[in-house]
């Protein structure tokens, strides 16, 4: 397992390097947008990775609610944290691209708004985990993840209707990608998916290790308390 972990990390590094080379050097410059279009090779794969991680979080949360396995909870923590990071990258790279191309940093478009609300929901999930460190936290967090997942389709439909009523500037997203662009895009999609999975896996292993350490410390302090209790017993008896 450890070996596969290291090999996959090396593979991820190579793929990311190759993807960056493809995106920045090989892929042709877009005719109307210019070099700023290259952000697309990072923006879309990040979004895809974030959504995959949020799905992982939902599955892990439901699995935890059903089987109550600590490993499912550790996976839920890892995927939510890493997902929020990738989602933040999406929300930052988006406006950087939008400003020169659309002329505005932000618009309340359906995809943008849904992504933002998803990000807000998962930040509140992380806040809950941070503010509550009792034994019930995994259950509470898993329930919140289920509520968040139920919310996303409603958000999507409400924005969809809101925006079809209030027309928006048309976004130049149509058309197909030139083959070298598609190649660079697919390489980066693969590289980012693998990268996201590997960071999540690393975080998952860290979480398991952290829990082992906490458990060991708790046992140690418990043993220490027992020893000191035994030592103090005769004293208290003689005092009586």
């Amino acid at each position: 397992m450890k070996r596969a972990f290291s090999i996959l990390w090396v593979l991820t590094g190579l793929l990311l390097a190759y993807g960056t080379y493809q995106a920045l050097v090989i892929a042709p410059t877009e005719q109307t947008m210019g070099d700023v279009q290259r952000i697309f090779y990072y923006h879309v794969p990040s979004a895809w990775t974030a959504f995959c991680l949020f799905f992982t979080n939902l599955f892990a949360s439901v699995a935890y609610l059903i089987w109550k396995r600590p490993k499912a909870d550790a996976l839920a923590v890892a995927s939510a944290e890493v997902g929020v990071v990738f989602c933040t990258i999406v929300l930052i790279t988006g406006p950087i691209w939008a400003r020169p191309v659309w002329g505005i940093w932000w618009t309340w478009d359906i995809r943008l708004t849904t992504t933002l609300v998803l990000w807000l929901i998962y930040v509140s999930y992380l806040v809950l985990r941070r503010f509550s460190d009792t034994a019930q936290t995994p259950v509470l967090a898993a329930v919140l993840a289920v509520f968040g997942a139920l919310d996303v389709p409603l958000v999507y439909f409400s924005i969809w209707f809101f925006r079809t009523q209030h027309p928006q500037p048309v976004m130049g997203k149509g058309g197909s990608l030139a083959p070298p662009m598609l190649h660079a895009f697919l390489i980066n999609l693969l590289a980012f998916s693998l990268f996201g999975a590997m960071v999540c896996w690393t975080r998952y292993r860290l979480e398991l290790l952290k829990r082992d350490v906490e458990q060991a410390q708790a046992l140690e302090s418990l043993a220490g308390a027992e020893v000191s209790e035994k030592a103090s017993l005769p004293l208290s008896r003689s005092a009586r």
């Binding site: 929901i121 930040v123 806040v127 509470l140 919140l144 919310d151 958000v155 209707f161």
Partner: protein
């Protein structure tokens, strides 16, 4: 005493009696939303047409904040003397308890809305240009949307640190589609600007989805170890 409706009714009557004697939640909600109305009025100073456009947002934001004030007191009351622990070990149905709390909050927030709406109309010189009777289903569905999730999240954040801050942090992101539904429906009805049907259906869907989810998961929250 173990059937769902018996538990619901007993808890609801107890909560109403407690609230009737202390009036803690109602007084603080009323004064709080009155302050919001006055401060908004100073901040925007709108004319009649602008009022119609923004009043939906103002009304619901005021009610949302006031609801949080009430929700924070819902479960805190049961922590004293370990009442909640007693519930946990009793064979009473958890959903009965949840329904009673949600219905109680619904009642209190509806009372608040009944008192505050005339004030809003006076302060903002509102006159609905659309079918005003539709504001009633919007009000009922919107209030239930805030209250059902609010009651659930208040119970969820009960055992976290600084739970009074936690509640809005959990409740607001999830409530975004419901708030959009209420605000848009109210704006459309006040400005007479098309049909509010989609938003009423959205609110109804939201209510059904989250009432079901709350009832399905409340036992898990209550008995979480």
């Amino acid at each position: 005493m173990s059937s769902l409706w018996d538990v619901t009714l007993a808890t609801l009557v107890k909560d109403i009696r407690l609230e009737w004697r202390s009036k803690d939640a109602l007084n603080s909600m009323l004064f709080f939303s009155l302050l919001v109305v006055v401060i908004f009025s100073f901040s925007f100073d709108p004319n009649a047409e602008e009022s119609r456009q923004i009043a939906g947002g103002l009304v619901w934001v005021a009610f949302l904040f006031a609801t949080v004030v009430a929700l924070n007191q819902t479960w805190a009351r049961e922590l004293r003397n370990q009442v909640l622990d007693a519930y946990r070990v009793s064979p009473a149905s958890p959903n009965g308890l949840f329904l009673a709390k949600a219905l109680g909050n619904f009642l209190f927030v509806s009372l608040l809305e009944a008192v505050m709406t005339p004030l809003f109309i006076v302060f903002y010189n509102l006159r609905a240009l659309g079918p005003a009777w539709q504001l009633i289903p919007v009000g009922i569905l919107g209030t239930w949307a805030l209250v059902v999730n609010g009651t659930f999240f208040a119970a969820l954040s009960l055992r976290t640190r600084s739970r009074e801050i936690m509640l809005p942090l959990l409740l607001f992101p999830i409530s975004i589609p419901a708030i959009q539904g209420m605000v848009e429906a109210t704006r459309i009805l006040l400005a007479g600007d098309g049909s509010a049907r989609f938003w009423i259906v959205l609110l109804l869907t939201y209510d059904v989805v989250f009432t079901t989810a709350s009832l399905a998961l409340f036992g898990t929250i209550l008995h979480a170890e």
